[in-house]
């Protein structure tokens, strides 16, 4: 047994309202740059729908993930290593920009610059790739809320696996949102596809990252990932992907998408798994057994044997504690209500989902029944085949039994808790019907419905003593002057060249310096640039405004009264 720790996430789909807050905040944090305009590390898809990029789940077409070969061995769907290297000059199955969408902006200037005219001026869309005017025809969530259904919906690869007559009435029956980030797979096919070995899995927390210094832009990872969660930055020529917000997680705070989630539906925690058994589990012949196989790789953190092995493997004590309190572990293995997304891709994804029950309840209520009565819910789950079949294609490779089991538990929880909330005696038979006790149900309810912040996020911090100091702190910001290698802009070869500065170090040192200084943030004798990010509100940053009149003799020989850095009126500290 070789114990490793893995950060994971569970999303409770019942609570997702499809507001895209997670996507927007993620984009603001990570991909609001030229080169990744089209990239959404976090995206929210309406299901049924084509997803982003379109039809990415059709692995016959996109060849992502692993498959079991005729000899029973696991291999990448794109073929052998040699084959990948031979297609390196032109990857035959890489999604092109149209499969994502062509990013655009609007010609906002015309709104202010247009001459007086009879008609209101319009800001026309312009491509961010070629700068030409363009027609907006697709986007990351063009089919949001079933927009364009039923035509667009018919191309949903998951829907296509479901029987034809069921498909017809689908969009009247069922709709839910599926927020997606990189799965930080235990068996990542993106890393396996990378010819340069630039994509790696961190030993301490299992986060999968792209080393930007080693990536050479071969693009094989884009094809290799079945979830299409590695993106190509067309400006820098490097692959980029969701980082699980590692700078935040390392200090114990949740990812941006989780922190800002309006529905408070995301859970983050640590699981322990047995690295020796990963390959065997991923090679399970029957796709429908993969869910079980992956669960069996995850270890029970309360088992003394596991704890001992974990300690031997150098996992710190507080990480083991966190694994024991992990909401992820509870939802996956204790309550068994979380399911992996597309286990049949065999990458052992680590972002799991609690399938939504609400559509069933809604359908039930719509027919005039009591949507929260246990008997009714159980009956409806069995008879409403459509949602169950669809969910099974997403989460269990088509095994409807498992999905039904989870939905029954969620239904039981609703009924059981309603009795309690209405002051009625608890009906233990409801709990027993799904193989749980009343205590279990109440605990699960606390985790799922009350969902306290510190129960949703149990994130142990990174241990600096596990290795050399984190890079954040060892590079300082001595390069941080105009023209210095750490500055904005590019090195001598233009685009993408030059050294790098770590994410937070600039702000970190600036803040520290500012707290202890009694002068302006930007001493006049140092090279500098206009930097509003670090400007502390004292005076005005040099270079922001043209030279003030008092620097040139004014017409009346008096001080121009400008708000310059030397102007005493504005250098007083703010209250």
């Amino acid at each position: 047994m070789r114990v490793m720790a893995q950060m994971g996430m569970v999303m409770n789909l019942d609570k997702c309202i499809g507001c895209h807050t997670c996507s927007v905040t993620c984009k603001q944090a990570w991909t609001n740059r030229t080169g990744v305009e089209y990239v959404w590390f976090n995206n929210v898809e309406t299901r049924p729908g084509q997803g982003y990029p379109r039809t990415y789940e059709d692995q016959e077409k996109w060849k992502g993930g692993w498959e079991v070969g005729r000899n029973g061995k696991l291999r990448l769907r794109t073929g052998s290593r040699l084959k990948r290297l031979l297609t390196i000059f032109s990857n035959p199955i890489q999604p092109s920009i149209d499969d994502y969408y062509e990013p655009w902006t609007y010609d906002y200037e015309t709104l202010t610059n247009a001459p007086l005219q009879e008609h209101t001026p319009v800001a026309r869309p312009r491509s961010l790739l070629s700068n030409e005017p363009m027609k907006v025809e697709w986007s990351a969530n063009w089919d949001d809320d079933l927009g364009g259904a039923p035509e667009l919906t018919q191309a949903d690869p998951v829907l296509q696996k479901i029987s034809a007559q069921v498909k017809q009435q689908f969009e009247q029956t069922y709709m839910f949102y599926l927020p997606r980030i990189c799965e930080h797979c235990i068996n990542p096919s993106c890393a396996a596809s990378c010819p340069s070995g630039a994509i790696y899995k961190r030993e301490e927390d299992g986060i999968v990252l792209v080393d930007q210094d080693r990536c050479r832009g071969w693009r094989m990872c884009v094809t290799g990932c079945p979830y299409k969660k590695v993106y190509f930055n067309h400006r820098t020529g490097k692959a980029e992907k969701c980082t699980f917000c590692f700078p935040r997680v390392e200090v114990g705070i949740p990812t941006v998408c989780s922190e800002t989630c309006v529905g408070r539906l995301r859970y983050i925690g640590v699981v322990l798994y047995d690295a020796d058994r990963v390959l065997e589990a991923a090679s399970t012949p029957d796709e429908q057994d993969l869910y079980q196989a992956q669960r069996s790789v995850l270890l029970d953190p309360d088992d003394p044997q596991v704890v001992r092995a974990a300690e031997q493997a150098g996992i710190p004590r507080d990480w083991i504690d966190a694994a024991q309190r992990s909401p992820i572990h509870a939802l996956i293995n204790r309550y068994e209500v979380a399911l992996p997304l597309h286990p049949e891709y065999r990458t052992m994804p680590m972002v799991w989902y609690i399938p939504p029950l609400s559509p069933v309840v809604d359908a039930l209520t719509g027919t005039g029944h009591d949507g929260e009565d246990a008997g009714n819910i159980f009956g409806a789950i069995e008879s409403l085949r459509i949602p169950v079949e669809y969910l099974a294609e997403l989460f269990t490779a088509g095994d409807t039994g498992r999905v039904t089991g989870v939905l029954r538990k969620l239904g039981a929880m609703r009924s059981y808790m309603r009795d309690l909330n209405l002051g009625r005696p608890a009906d233990e038979s409801i709990a027993a019907a799904v193989g749980m006790t009343g205590r279990d149900i109440q605990d699960m309810h606390r985790l799922l419905a009350v969902a306290k912040y510190d129960e949703r996020y149990v994130i142990p911090t990174a241990h600096a003593e596990q290795g050399p100091e984190r890079e954040e702190y060892d590079s300082g910001c001595s390069l941080d002057y105009d023209g210095g290698p750490g500055m904005g802009g590019w090195g001598p070869f233009g685009e993408t060249s030059g050294g790098s500065t770590p994410i937070a170090v600039e702000n970190f040192h600036m803040l520290a310096a500012r707290q202890t200084t009694d002068t302006l943030a930007a001493p006049g004798d140092r090279e500098q640039r206009v930097n509003l990010l670090n400007w502390d509100g004292k005076g005005s940053p040099v270079g922001l405004f043209p030279p003030q009149p008092h620097e040139r003799p004014g017409p009346h020989g008096e001080d121009g009264g400008g708000v310059g850095p030397d102007s005493p009126a504005v250098t007083d500290p703010k209250p």
């Binding site: 609001n32 740059r33 030229t34 290593r81 290297l85 390196i88 000059f89 032109s90 035959p92 890489q94 092109s96 920009i97 902006t105 491509s127 790739l129 070629s130 030409e132 396996a192 010819p195 340069s196 070995g197 994509i199 790696y200 899995k201 961190r202 030993e203 301490e204 927390d205 990252l209 080393d211 930007q212 210094d213 080693r214 990536c215 832009g217 693009r219 930055n233 067309h234 400006r235 820098t236 020529g237 596990q466 290795g467 050399p468 984190r470 290698p485 750490g486 802009g489 090195g491 070869f493 233009g494 685009e495 993408t496 060249s497 030059g498 050294g499 790098s500 500065t501 770590p502 994410i503």
Partner: protein, 246 residues
């Protein structure tokens, strides 16, 4: 031997080689982030699908030909009993096929670069300079081959260019040899020297990233959080959307 010959065939080659070697070291040391193919496949793939493999496989064979032609002395091939005629037929035959592939690929790629909007706007000045020098070198080289096929070849490059090329590496360069080589070969060699000198500063560096290690490494790479962790980001690559296109 006049001064010009010495400059062209002794001084220039050493400058070019020095820049080539030191330049690569320097670029690798200070600009790993810029070391990439900068693929444009995301923008367009129909033309690339033909152009890129044609060019790349073509140029690989051309490289192989050069290694043989420049690296292997005539005496060696004579020794194994390869006659002059067979050698030339072989070299020129294979060379012509590889060269035509390379040129066709290059033509498609240049056409694509010019006509596909996003690809064109992703082309830097650096790229343009590189394209000019690279194309010139290939065209000069190709015209030498064509002349060879037509039988107009004045001198045997294996008696002139090749010994000169090798003489550079054992530090007794003989500019006389190049003077006799004829204008075609001289131009080809000159443009190649310029190409080598700008090589480390262009996207051509990706040649040295040929991922051969892929065959031997395990599929999944594990790395400790701390060692070499690129806490990347920072201003570079963080331009706001739409801001500051090249």
């Amino acid at each position: 031997m006049n001064a010009l010959d010495v400059v062209l065939w002794v001084i220039l080659p050493y400058i070019s080689l020095a820049v080539f070697v030191v330049g690569h070291y320097w670029r690798y040391r200070y600009d790993k982030f810029g070391w990439t193919t900068r693929s444009t496949q995301l923008y367009e793939r129909r033309l690339l699908r033909w152009g890129s493999p044609l060019f790349h496989f073509g140029i690989l064979f051309v490289l192989l030909g050069h290694v043989m032609g420049l690296g292997i002395p005539k005496s060696w091939t004579d020794a194994v009993g390869l006659s002059e005629q067979t050698y030339h037929a072989l070299a020129i035959g294979v060379g012509a096929i590889a060269g035509i592939g390379t040129l066709a690929g290059l033509a498609i790629l240049i056409y694509r670069r010019r006509t596909v909007g996003p690809v064109f706007s992703a082309t830097t000045k650096n790229d343009k300079l590189m394209y000019v020098v690279l194309t010139a070198t290939i065209l000069f080289g190709m015209s030498n081959t064509v002349l060879g096929v037509l039988g107009h070849e004045g001198v045997d490059y294996r008696d002139t260019v090749s010994p000169w090329f090798r003489s550079i590496f054992y530090f007794s360069p003989d500019p006389e040899l190049m003077r006799e080589a004829g204008l075609g070969f001289q131009l080809h060699a000159l443009s190649a020297l310029v190409l080598f000198a700008i090589w480390p500063f262009t996207r051509l560096v990706h040649v040295f990233s040929a991922p051969l290690g892929y065959f031997t490494r395990p599929y999944i790479v594990y790395r400790s959080r701390d060692t070499e962790l690129g806490n990347r980001a920072a201003p570079r690559g963080w331009d706001r959307v739409g801001g500051g296109r090249r």
